[in-house]
């Protein structure tokens, strides 16, 4: 490294220049695209943690390595964050000077015309004969400005030097909105990033499974899972109450093939109490139709069945009676779950499947259709320690580490198949299990996101900026009128014998309409009739002055 002359400041400046250069931004963009791809290949903890656990179990060798590389948390991994933060810095470094330049350009006059207009990408030249139909230079000067201003050009006029006689240059520029759009788009992208961060820090999301007929109070302990943002206090959750009164669900029965049994309607009737002590309100909640309560939104996302199970001991005393939500495992709602009877001695655990339309064959119990056509509950029975070591465990899975299967009189593990209303007796005087009925449950998501509206506003602004940036053309037009030196006078009242009008235009990128624009401008400037018919008011003024 031969950089002794640079020094610390020099290096810092060099790094900053590199980072904010277009090439680096481009490289970072491509990197960002590539870095996002693993997030679609492997399951993500932020999206579905259960899938990640399953993947790790199925791939004991590869899984941990992928985990170390952050492949299951791509979008919060240091490398992904690094790329987009560098990109954001690069963006700031690009946008700030560009904004400054653009503001200066908007205030400045259009630049003066280059010496040789015929070298510009579009150029058209006319020589006016000295007959009565042609115009004086004074009129041309006015006409050129009017024509260009009407087309929303910013116009500056400069008299040619004394050696050019009575000639003059008109410089005009339009399409400043292109650069405005560019700046707006990039600033709005920064706005999106900031808004997302706000939502992440102060937002929260809770999930709860609620069987029909039950009540729910929004509080940290009541949610099945709660993901509060880092800066959310546990007491800051909206303290509303909600009761699930009714659920309507229907499935496809007409179409055959893969569509058969596909869900067709989910909706729920709920009663909410927005604040403790407020009047209850009833509302309808459906997929695509969330409910807004107390600054939070409630979404209906999942549904399933909760068998209502009652377990009695041998004397008939009720040990357990509740609606137990089972989790659907496939599109036909073959659902699994567990009933944990902590009141029994020893503790009793029922584990198995609920089938809304049962089919029991060599593959075991499965469901043929998602609706309740022939509901059955197929369970096995375990006894022992329900909560070994007191560790947290899922309510939907029976942890059999401290349990033994209950054997029937033949010495086989007990299996029971219950239809609603049916009661089965447990072996050796352990009591009875009754399937009282089946209710549906709703999977509710409650979300509070203060960044939501700012994200929407920023992204719509970005889109507007983008359309301006890509849609507006920035053009510079120059008009040069050179009078005949011999006949020219400066008052503009004398007719000239040979006035040359040159119109030329310049753009940054390719512009197929440029040549025709230049020709049209030249025609408009030199022909009096067309201007009058197209625009009456300036024409009236011109007549007054001429």
């Amino acid at each position: 490294m031969a950089g002794p002359a640079l020094g610390l400041r020099g290096w810092a400046r060099w790094t900053w220049r590199q980072l904010t250069s277009m090439r680096t931004a481009l490289l970072l963009l491509l990197l960002l695209a590539v870095a996002a791809v693993p997030g679609s290949i492997w399951p993500q903890r932020g999206v579905d943690p259960a899938q990640v656990t399953a993947y790790l179990q199925q791939n004991p060798r590869l899984g941990p390595w992928l985990d170390r590389l952050g492949m299951f948390d791509v979008f919060s991994s240091p490398w992904f964050s690094g790329i987009y933060l560098l990109l954001a810095v690069s963006l700031i470094g690009c946008v700030v000077p560009r904004t400054r330049q653009h503001v200066a350009a908007m205030r400045a006059q259009p630049p003066s015309a280059p010496r040789r207009l015929e070298r510009l990408p579009a150029h058209h030249s006319l020589t006016l004969a000295g007959d009565s139909s042609s115009l004086e230079t004074g009129q041309l000067r006015q006409r050129a400005q009017e024509v260009l201003r009407r087309r929303r050009y910013r116009v500056a006029v400069k008299d040619a030097g004394a050696d050019a006689g009575s000639g003059f240059d008109v410089s005009a520029e339009t399409g400043y909105l292109k650069e405005t759009g560019n700046v707006v788009f990039h600033v709005a992208l920064l706005g999106v990033i900031v808004s997302v961060a706000v939502g992440h820090l102060w937002g929260w999301r809770g999930e709860v499974i609620l069987p029909v007929g039950e009540n729910f109070t929004s509080a940290a302990a009541e949610y099945d899972t709660l993901q509060p943002g880092p800066w959310v206090g546990e007491n800051e959750l909206a303290p509303f109450q909600l009761r699930l009164d009714e659920m309507t669900v229907s499935f496809e029965t007409e179409a055959q093939g893969a569509q058969f049994g596909a869900p067709r309607e989910f909706s729920a009737e709920v009663t909410t109490v927005p604040q403790p002590g407020a009047t209850p309100e009833t509302a309808r909640l459906a997929v695509n139709d969330p409910l807004s309560v107390d600054g939070a939104s409630v979404y209906l996302l999942g549904n399933g069945y909760a068998p209502v199970v009652t377990v009695r001991d041998s004397s008939g005393q009720v040990l357990f009676s509740d609606a137990v939500p089972f989790l659907p495992q496939d599109d036909n709602y073959t659902s699994t779950g567990a009933v944990k009877v902590a009141g029994a001695k020893p503790e009793l655990g029922l584990y198995g499947a609920f089938l809304p339309t049962a089919r029991i064959d060599e593959r075991g119990p499965t469901s043929d259709f998602p609706d309740l056509v022939d509901p059955k509950l197929a369970i096995g029975v375990f006894e022992g320690d329900l909560f070994p070591g007191g560790a947290a465990q899922s309510v939907y899975v029976l942890d059999t580490a401290g349990m033994e299967p209950v054997l029937d009189s033949d010495g086989d593990p007990t299996r029971m198949l219950l239809t609603p209303g049916q009661t089965a007796t447990l072996p050796q005087g352990r009591g009875t299990v009754t399937l009282d009925g089946v209710v549906r449950w709703s999977g509710l998501v409650v979300r509070h996101d203060p960044g939501r509206l700012p994200v929407l506003i920023s992204s719509v602004t970005a889109l507007v900026g983008l359309v301006l940036m890509l849609g507006v053309r920035r053009r510079r037009v120059f008009v040069r009128v050179t009078g005949d030196r011999g006949a020219g006078t400066l008052d503009g009242a004398t007719r000239h014998t040979g006035v040359t009008v040159q119109v030329a235009a310049l753009v940054k990128d390719h512009d197929p309409g440029l040549q025709s624009l230049v020709e049209q401008l030249a025609a408009e400037i030199t022909s009096a009739d067309e201007v009058r018919t197209m625009d009456r008011e300036p024409a009236a003024r011109r007549e007054g002055s001429g």
């Binding site: 993500q44 997302v196 055959q256 893969a258 979300r447 719509v460 889109l463």
Partner: protein, 342 residues
């Protein structure tokens, strides 16, 4: 709920379209072959002019309105020169365009029938999405062809569309039925129709990008020491590389804001349906990837030190990402966008 007659009519229409497109494709291929085989024009003609040779000297075909308007408004400004003698026949290309016009009508009608058969917008599953994207691609191509001479592009639009329709029928076909509750929203129509329109445009942009690279290679070879100074073979039928490149850019300049719009509308809908506007679902990941790749293309084109060839490769990568987003993500990655019905 479902009108079976209309559903069957729609299916038949799609088969008819496939047959028509196959015919159009052959005609367009013949168009290129005629150009490749045509006798070389006199040596005074520059490559830029041979490319569009035949525009006016061939007998004006009554079936291709716009041949008159077709001439560049300002000769010389974009390198498209005047007509030369000995121009190869345009007959096959015109036949191809006529058949494509017919195929487009039939496909649009079939897609509409599909929607009518279940009384909803035909945007509910992968099969319908493919139909609508093909409709957009064909309508855009036909509209363009009626205003400008785009016969050389025909093969590269009808070919991919034919492939997509064939796959849609064989691999992605789903019986007409009602929507999943999560799809029953006005946002479906806005989100998916914009996405398909953007995809249709990108399909054509992908074709012009590829053709630009091919033509550019041919031009540099022709200009090289071993080349004869003129592009030979079927690539003679193409416009000059420079103008192909501009078309590619122009198409993407329209497609990119549409894709951005799709993304914003999708996020708005996700907020309503799933309780969050962005959740890195596989489909969202790929929508984002496509957005970033096309953004990179637009940047690359304005970056000093990046050749237009290199920039165009990024546009091609974007096209590949769209294909992955549609054909791979929907089928092989599980996520919330699992609407494919497969």
């Amino acid at each position: 709920m479902r009108n079976d007659t209309l559903a069957v009519a729609s299916d038949i229409g799609v088969w008819v379209t496939i047959v028509l497109l196959a015919v159009a494709m052959l005609a367009f291929a013949a168009h290129l072959a005629v150009h490749a085989a045509a006798a070389r024009p006199s040596s005074s003609v520059r490559p830029a002019e041979t490319a569009l040779a035949g525009r006016g000297s061939a007998p004006p075909a009554p079936s291709s309105p716009g041949t008159d308007r077709d001439r560049p408004r300002s000769p010389g400004s974009n390198g498209e020169g005047e007509v030369t003698e000995q121009a190869p026949s345009r007959r096959w290309g015109v036949v191809g365009l006529q058949v494509t016009l017919l195929a487009t009508l039939v496909l649009v009608a079939s897609t509409a029938l599909r929607g009518l058969s279940v009384q909803r917008a035909p945007l509910g599953n992968m099969y319908e999405f493919a139909l609508v994207a093909c409709c957009f691609a064909l309508v855009i191509y036909c509209g363009w062809s009626l205003r400008r001479d785009r016969l050389w592009l025909g093969l590269f639009v009808t070919g991919p569309v034919l492939l997509i329709l064939g796959l849609a029928r064989r691999a992605w076909y789903t019986e007409a039925s009602q929507l999943l509750p999560s799809l029953e929203s006005i946002w479906l129509v806005i989100h998916v129709s914009m996405a398909t329109l953007a995809v249709g445009l990108c399909l054509i942009g992908f074709a012009t990008a590829t053709l630009y690279l091919l033509r550019d290679t041919a031009e540099s070879r022709a200009a090289g020491p071993t080349g004869g100074g003129e592009v030979t073979g079927w690539r003679r039928a193409l416009p000059p590389a420079e103008s192909l490149e501009r078309m590619t850019y122009g198409i993407h300049v329209v497609a990119f804001p549409l894709w951005t719009f799709t993304l914003i509308v999708g996020a708005t809908w996700a907020e309503q349906a799933w309780g969050r506007y962005w959740g890195w679902d596989p489909k969202e990941v790929w929508t984002f990837v496509i957005f970033v790749v096309y953004a990179a293309y637009l940047h690359a084109r304005a970056t000093a030190g990046w050749t237009t060839r290199k920039a165009t490769w990024i546009a091609i990568a974007g096209g590949i990402c769209i294909v992955i987003n549609y054909a791979v993500v929907n089928v092989f990655f599980s996520g919330l966008h699992s609407y494919s019905g497969l």
